[in-house]
């Protein structure tokens, strides 16, 4: 008598075996894929012999063809530059991808999406997993982290030997250089400044943007009073709060950190300038009452408040015009001004930008191909075509360019002259972001949020607490590692 119902034993074994076989074959095909990927990784470690042994398709592997001069080797590179599906310039960009492919039959480019908000995390994960792209782009503060960690390749020779080098404006490579070596190709640059709504200012009878901290507070109050429901100034109190706060420290005549001659770091959170800046932040919120109530909203929400007319002033960049016009704001209402000067009488702007960065693990052939690819998209022809596409499609063009031979003015005729004049004025005194920002940011955000949310919080006390904590948890270790040679 049969004890169990259901499928018989041989059948069940067959089913299980089929499942396992299916899985193993999936693993097998994955393994093959990985083998191909490993070949790419292997080319990244410049191990041509390993590549040859791995036996990948020679037609798609530069290293495997390294010694074959008769046939043109095809180099495969991975670039994180695929535009988002809703990017208005997607069709143009993809057209340019195809054009590059046609012009460069020996370079096979794999485009990977890199437009997600968490792309920084994804990039670091890819690097940690040995799957970093051959070419990617990074903002300047990130370059500050990537260069010493060896994430960005040294491209000094390639840049110096490139005929394109002199096409870049003077100092363009400075932000991606360290100890005389170059690690990035400039893509774009911006300068920061005060963005104000001209219409709301006019309603309050104010003809010109504020030039000092005192004028700034008074104007913000006046604009609020004459425009019901409008916030005078949207302050940044969320995770990047230290980004804008550093401007105020500069305006007060100081900085947040120093890099000493021996390379070690010194904190200046408790400097007179930093305390004055935080006191001013506190006053804007509690004394002048000119900020939004939701002071812990992020920069995207601040921008939304501005372009929807709910806020009269925010801190922005030279690119903000393009952004806000794209969001439907009347170009005539968008004003740009250098920052109001603080107690020091100075108002430096922050200079920033993004850079193309090569993978140090890529093979020399891949690096060469990636460099060629990056330069193709910095060519005059490409930039002219892009500028024309944007004009034809009502898309804004950034008023700053890093190229000497690209005349951006012919594509930014809609940008008011006073806006451009103010951008140029702001760019005269430029400052880099504070040293070790990425590691110290979370420590500085805390006192900023504390004074914005607690009327009784004392700026000097909060900054002192933050400095003590950051010194203990970041700086002491950084300096010790530096002296022992552990920092690279």
């Amino acid at each position: 008598m049969k004890k169990h119902g259901g499928i018989n034993k041989p059948a069940s074994v067959l089913v299980a075996a089929t499942i396992v076989a299916g899985l193993l074959s999936a693993c097998g095909s994955e393994k093959e894929d990985n083998a191909a990927g490993a070949n790419n990784a292997a080319t990244q470690t410049n191990d041509a012999a390993a590549n040859a042994n791995a036996g990948t398709d020679a037609s798609t592997n530069a290293a495997a063809n390294a010694g074959d001069n008769a046939a043109d080797p095809v180099v495969e590179i991975t670039v994180w530059d695929q535009p988002s599906p809703d990017d208005p310039g997607k069709s143009f960009i993809e057209e340019q991808f195809a054009k590059f492919d046609a012009d460069h039959p020996n370079i096979k480019v794999k485009h990977v999406e890199a437009w997600q908000p968490d792309v920084r995390e994804k990039f670091l994960t890819a690097v940690a997993g040995g799957e970093g792209p051959d070419l990617s782009s990074a903002a300047f503060p990130d370059m500050q982290v990537y260069i010493p960690k060896g994430i960005a390749a040294d491209i000094t020779d390639m840049v110096n030997n490139s005929p394109d080098k002199d096409r870049f404006i003077d100092g363009a490579f400075n932000l991606a250089s360290k100890d005389g070596k170059i690690y990035g190709i400039p893509n774009d640059m911006y300068t920061s400044g005060l963005i104000y709504n001209k219409k709301l200012f006019a309603n309050a009878g104010i003809a010109a943007p504020p030039k000092t901290w005192e004028e700034f507070a008074a104007d913000a109050q006046a604009v609020q009073a004459k425009n019901p429901g409008v916030t005078g100034f949207d302050i940044l109190g969320m995770d990047w709060a230290d980004w804008h706060f550093e401007y105020y420290v500069w305006q007060a005549g100081g900085d947040l950190t120093e890099q000493l001659p021996d390379g070690t770091a010194k904190l200046d959170f408790t400097s007179d300038a930093a305390v004055k800046a935080l006191q001013y932040y506190k006053d804007l919120k509690w004394k002048y009452k000119v900020t939004q109530k939701n002071v812990v909203q992020d920069i995207g929400e601040n921008e939304k408040d501005f372009y929807s007319g709910r806020s009269a002033m925010i801190i922005g960049t030279s690119d903000s015009f393009t952004n806000f016009v794209g969001r439907g704001m009347d170009p005539a209402d968008i004003g740009f001004a250098p920052f109001p000067a603080g107690p020091s009488g100075k108002a430096p702007a922050q200079v920033g930008g993004s850079f193309s960065m090569l993978n140090p693990k890529s093979s020399p052939e891949q690096q060469k191909a990636a460099f060629e690819y990056a330069m193709y998209f910095m060519s005059k022809d490409y930039n002219d075509a892009l500028g024309q596409f944007k004009v034809d499609n009502g898309l804004g063009v950034r008023p700053f360019t890093v190229l000497k031979d690209f005349d951006v003015t012919q594509y930014i005729k809609d940008v008011p002259q006073d806006y451009l004049d103010a951008v140029n004025e702001s760019a005269k005194d430029q400052h880099l972001e504070y040293f070790l920002k990425s590691s110290l940011s979370s420590y500085l955000v805390k006192p900023i949020q504390k004074v914005l949310l607690d009327q009784n919080a004392d700026p000097a006390t909060e900054l002192k607490k933050a400095q003590e904590l950051a010194q203990k948890e970041v700086i002491d270790k950084y300096n010790a590692d530096l002296k022992s040679g552990a920092n690279k």
């Binding site: 034993k9 069940s12 074994v13 299980a16 075996a17 499942i19 396992v20 899985l23 693993c27 920084r120 995390e121 670091l124 994960t125 690097v127 940690a128 982290v145 960690k149 060896g150 994430i151 916030t231 109190g237 969320m238 995770d239 939004q292 109530k293 939701n294 002071v295 812990v296 909203q297 140090p360 693990k361 990425s438 590691s439 940011s441 979370s442 955000v445 805390k446 006192p447 949020q449 504390k450 914005l452 949310l453 607690d454 904590l469 203990k472 948890e473 970041v474 270790k477 590692d481 552990a486 690279k488």
Partner: protein
């Protein structure tokens, strides 16, 4: 004769023992083959990562040229000495207590009510599941908007009855509560069904007997329903505890750990240490620490299960 019988019995016993021994060592391939796919996947996507994290945690990890300098338990000592870690731990525990008080019991109450509903029962069951269909991030963003002190719905409605305005996420003392509160309204999702199924599995005779003995609904709940679903509650509690201790997405979207670290939890610290500060060694050490915490809770779960068995 007696000796022969004893000898025969002895031989039979020995044969039976040998048969038993042979059966014990016989490899049963069918279950192994069935288990193998999940075991492979589990090993690759769970255990390998855990062991890799342990390995990384022992280094001042260099992501370009891994693994970097070996520091032994240095990363563990470093985070244990960090004041920020203890702030994160304290916040994590406060979130846990608040979650138990505000969220954990909700699906139990929903299941109890549901078990008493005779008409439209399936409809209500579906109704309880609908909030679970909403993606977590979308729900959290909705709540974030409602909390907005400038133009959020809550302050608008509370003002109608003369209350507020409240800072919600802008109030250092209210932030944690504001983050946990949505859990009360979104309900327990699948937990409701688990509790409901447990309640429904209780013998109807018990209820009948209790009714005959004059027990009212409250007493029936206390002496019959709750003791009979204790096992499910305990298992759910351990799972719930693990979930709260690893809370990340709702806090990240609402406050990113702020304001002023008021909502900084260990899971956020792990993300921040790795992807903002690029200190993967310490991040891995923190991850392994959380693994230990969760492992201890799992052991508790096993013991409770064993006791119940």
């Amino acid at each position: 004769m007696g000796n022969q019988l004893e000898l025969k019995q002895d031989t039979v016993i020995r044969e039976q023992t040998q048969t038993r021994t042979r059966a014990t060592f016989k490899i049963r391939w069918t279950p192994i083959l069935f288990l193998l796919p999940s075991l492979i996947v589990f090993f690759v996507f769970k255990y390998y990562l855990i062991f890799d994290a342990i390995y990384i945690s022992l280094f001042n990890y260099d992501i370009v040229n891994p693994p970097g300098n070996f520091v032994g338990l240095g990363n563990y000592f470093e985070f244990l000495k960090s004041a920020t870690f203890w702030v994160a731990m304290k916040n994590t525990l406060i979130f846990f207590v608040l979650s138990v008080l505000i969220v954990f019991w909700v699906p139990i109450a929903q299941a109890l009510f549901l078990s008493q509903v005779k008409r439209w029962n399936a409809f209500y069951r579906v109704l309880y599941q609908i909030p679970g269909v909403l993606p977590v991030v979308a729900g959290v963003l909705l709540w974030k908007w409602m909390y907005n002190p400038d133009r959020g719905l809550f302050n608008y409605l509370l003002a109608k009855i003369g209350l507020g305005p409240y800072g919600w996420l802008n109030d250092l003392h209210m932030t944690k509560l504001a983050i946990v509160l949505p859990g009360f309204f979104t309900g327990g999702g699948i937990s409701v069904l688990l509790y409901y199924a447990a309640i429904k599995s209780i013998s109807a005779e018990l209820f009948e007997a209790a009714k005959i003995d004059g027990c009212g609904p409250w007493r029936r709940m206390v002496i019959i329903i709750l003791p009979n679903i204790t096992f499910v509650i305990l298992i759910q509690f351990v799972g719930f505890m693990s979930g709260v201790l690893l809370s990340f997405d709702n806090i990240f979207v609402m406050t990113q750990g702020g304001p002023a670290d008021a909502s900084l939890v260990v899971a956020l610290m792990i993300q921040r240490t790795a992807f903002v500060q690029s200190r993967f060694g310490i991040s891995a050490a923190l991850s392994f620490f959380m693994f230990i915490v969760i492992a201890v809770l799992t052991i508790v779960q096993f013991r409770l299960q064993k006791e119940d068995d």
